[in-house]
């Protein structure tokens, strides 16, 4: 579901560009400029490969961690129908994580390495999943806002210059629409319900609005890797452009629900055709990204426990496969 402008977290790493000549780099950029897709084994600059590995694996980690806030409500969904829907959505998030890990692996990084970086806390994932899901309405708000923001981010990624990533994103985007629609419908049901239900929906919007806007990453001026990613056509629109687009489509949806967006200063500028909004609290964003959000520790601890608890299953499956292979070889 969710990529984010996390690229400012990137580190340069060891310089392995010994063999990159200006000719190679120019030829590569020419392919990109001609809208040719780059495929797994094609020559590419080391920095392009590293940027993609970082972005795709962060994206995959976000999908995997993203199962937790929603999984929190699986056993407490109010009806059988809602439970089945939520289960399908959480399964989709797992699937999206797997599509993305598999795309990142084409760049020569192993699944174990990526998982290891997530579990050690070295790799980042989207800040949005470090917020708790306190009420059932949060499940609606996540589908509507978080998946909505994710769609804004992900649609342009379907045209990303790296083939395996763009193909994975096409698959993800097809499934994402269900996520957003079920979330909005959940909100709609609450808003047409009792006073308390509507208040619960409003409260969820209040808590998720700003974190959802932060999903697009820092302001363009503060986003250090953006220009290079745009030149490589990994990224097609700037963080601020996508954020504005999201606000413009989402505010009317909130109005339809009869809810108010928690921004006193929000107004529609008829000259530009866009909503103007208050400044985002970037300190909160950087706190959450750097590990101090409400749920960072809990999310990683749970992921580590799941990994550890599953160790015997992985070992047993491998032992069984080895035994079967040995028996077949002997036969």
């Amino acid at each position: 579901m969710y990529t984010q402008g996390l690229d400012q977290a990137g580190k340069s790493g060891p310089d392995t560009r010994e063999a990159e000549t200006a000719t190679q780099l120019d030829a590569f950029q020419a392919r990109i400029d001609a809208e040719e897709k780059i495929e797994a084994k094609d020559w590419m600059p080391e920095a392009y490969r590293r940027t993609l590995i970082r972005q795709i694996s962060q994206h995959a980690h976000s999908e995997i961690i993203g199962m937790q806030p929603e999984g929190n409500w699986l056993t407490r969904a109010p009806t059988m129908k809602r439970k089945a829907i939520l289960l399908a959505k959480v399964q989709d998030e797992a699937g999206h994580g797997l599509y993305l890990y598999s795309a990142a692996e084409t760049l020569g990084v192993s699944r174990d390495e990526m998982v290891g970086e997530l579990l050690s806390g070295k790799a980042k994932y989207s800040s949005i999943f470090n917020y708790p899901t306190l009420t059932w309405a949060d499940i609606g708000a996540i589908g509507w806002l978080v998946d909505g923001a994710a769609i804004m981010n992900q649609i342009p990624l379907c045209r990303c210059s790296y083939g395996p990533y763009s193909r994975a994103m096409v698959r993800v985007c097809k499934e994402e629409s269900f996520h957003q629609r079920q979330g909005y419908e959940l909100m709609l049901t609450l808003c047409r319900g009792t006073e308390e239900q509507k208040a619960m929906a409003q409260d969820a919007l209040n808590r998720f609005w700003w974190p959802a806007l932060m999903m697009f990453g820092p302001n363009d001026a503060a986003s250090s890797h953006s220009a290079q990613s745009m030149a490589w056509k990994i990224k097609r629109f700037s963080n601020d452009e996508l954020r504005q687009k999201f606000i413009d489509v989402t505010v009317p949806q909130a109005e339809f629900l009869g809810l108010s967006v928690p921004d006193e200063a929000l107004w529609f500028n008829e000259d530009t055709g866009h909503y103007e909004h208050s400044d985002i609290d970037w300190q909160e964003f950087f706190d959450v990204i750097s590990g101090n959000g409400p749920c960072n520790r809990q999310r990683l601890a749970k992921r580590r426990k799941a990994q550890d608890d599953g160790a015997w299953v992985r070992e047993a499956a491998r032992a069984y496969a080895d035994k079967k292979a040995a028996a077949e070889a002997a036969a």
Partner: protein
């Protein structure tokens, strides 16, 4: 992370009969049977397929992208393999 990870399999899916299998992505699995099950769960949650092939990624033999032009070169100067190479007068129909 001490154990070596499960092998990688490439997944090919036939979306409906009449179409050929098409590469969908990859999965890790301990053995062939698990690869099929994982591929089904990962790539066909919405009935996207009627048939799945999985094959160990390390068993695939592929052409080298660095050699693409040399490898495919022999076909490039054989324009007579295309119907447009032949000039046929307009009066001749159905050809």
């Amino acid at each position: 992370m001490t154990r070596q990870e499960w092998p990688l399999y490439e997944v090919f899916i036939r979306s409906r009969s009449g179409l050929s299998h098409r590469h969908a992505g990859s999965v890790h699995a301990a053995d062939d049977e698990m690869a099929l099950n994982n591929a089904r769960d990962t790539y066909t949650r919405r009935s996207e397929g009627v048939s799945i092939w999985v094959v160990r990624s390390d068993r695939i033999v592929a052409s080298d992208p660095a050699e693409t032009s040399a490898f495919f070169d022999p076909a490039e100067d054989k324009i007579y393999r295309h119907p447009t190479f032949y000039d046929i007068p307009d009066e001749v129909e159905n050809l």
